[in-house]
């Protein structure tokens, strides 16, 4: 590969920060499941 001839240069690779507005449900797996189930039912989503 003739790198000198390339018209572009890869400057850096990075892991992008995920900007989330989500409500993060915390706890042990069972707690998380319970909280989400409650949100879904009380919110009339299911």
């Amino acid at each position: 590969v003739n790198a000198e001839a390339s018209q572009i240069t890869l400057e850096k690779l990075y892991i992008p920060v995920v900007e989330s507005k989500a409500e993060i449900i915390e706890g042990e797996p069972e707690e998380k499941a319970e909280k989400l189930a409650s949100i879904l039912v009380k919110g009339g989503l299911v």
């Binding site: 018209q7 989500a22 797996p29």
Partner: protein
């Protein structure tokens, strides 16, 4: 136009036409070219483009070497549309192209086949992705879907793996859906998939990778192993719904 106006930057959409035209244009006019750009900035007089790799998990920043004109294709919806800073004028130019291209022609539109379920009309969708790991785990999602009366759909990875038929695929190479609830598990949220769920009213994402791009779209997020959480969720929902 490039010869006549010598623009500093030529931007084409990362569309079927843009993808077709831009590489040939770059070769023909010897332009520095970066495809599928999601960010552009000028730093110390050097134009730099950002593009995504590995389904959005890694970003690459690419610098252009100095040139009179740069060429990029821009990913759909990657930039906000601010108010224009300066008033431009529209100049109408006649196309020099002739209509008698004989190497290809439009033949017909073919409507996509609709399977047993039309997921574009579903009120509640349970989406599965590569994180489900194997088809023997499909009942985890099926049982949840049954309890909340949802239809199953999936990412391209799930459909390519044969876990779901292709008419259940959501995303740019599948369907665009607009359910009131989209509950997805093991889906990283590659832009191709996310493009298909923009119309969902509420998005719940379950994924063990805290950096999964799906969380940028979600209203509710559980960062955990779906195999531990989803069976419990199904149980709890069964109890609550009686």
């Amino acid at each position: 136009l490039i010869d006549d106006y010598k623009p500093k930057l030529v931007m084409l959409g990362q569309t079927a036409q843009g993808v077709d035209l831009a590489p040939a244009l770059a070769v023909e006019k010897k332009l520095p070219f970066v495809a599928d750009v999601v960010g552009l900035e000028v730093e110390d007089g050097v134009l730099k483009a950002t593009r995504q790799l590995y389904s959005g998990k890694v970003n690459a920043q690419i610098a252009f070497k100095p040139a009179d004109t740069y060429l990029v294709t821009i990913r759909e919806a990657a930039f906000e549309a601010p108010e224009p800073a300066a008033a431009g004028t529209i100049e109408k130019l006649d196309s020099p192209l002739k209509e008698d291209l004989d190497y290809r022609k439009f033949v017909e539109y073919i409507e996509a086949e609709v399977g047993d379920v039309d997921i574009t009309q579903s009120e509640i969708l349970v989406g599965i992705g590569r994180g489900l790991k194997e088809d023997k785990n499909l009942p985890i999602a099926e049982e949840l879907a049954e309890v909340i009366k949802a239809d199953l759909c999936g990412s391209r990875a799930a459909c390519d793996a044969g876990w779901l038929p292709s008419d259940r695929q959501v995303g740019t190479s599948g369907k665009t859906v607009k359910p009131k609830l989209y509950l997805c598990m093991g889906i990283s949220g590659a832009f191709q998939h996310v493009a298909g769920i923009k119309g969902a009213k509420t998005i719940v994402a379950i994924n063990k990778d805290p950096n999964a791009p799906i969380f940028a779209e979600a209203d509710y997020a559980i960062i955990d192993d779906l195999h531990k959480v989803v069976p419990k969720l199904t149980e709890k929902l069964k109890e609550l719904k009686g």
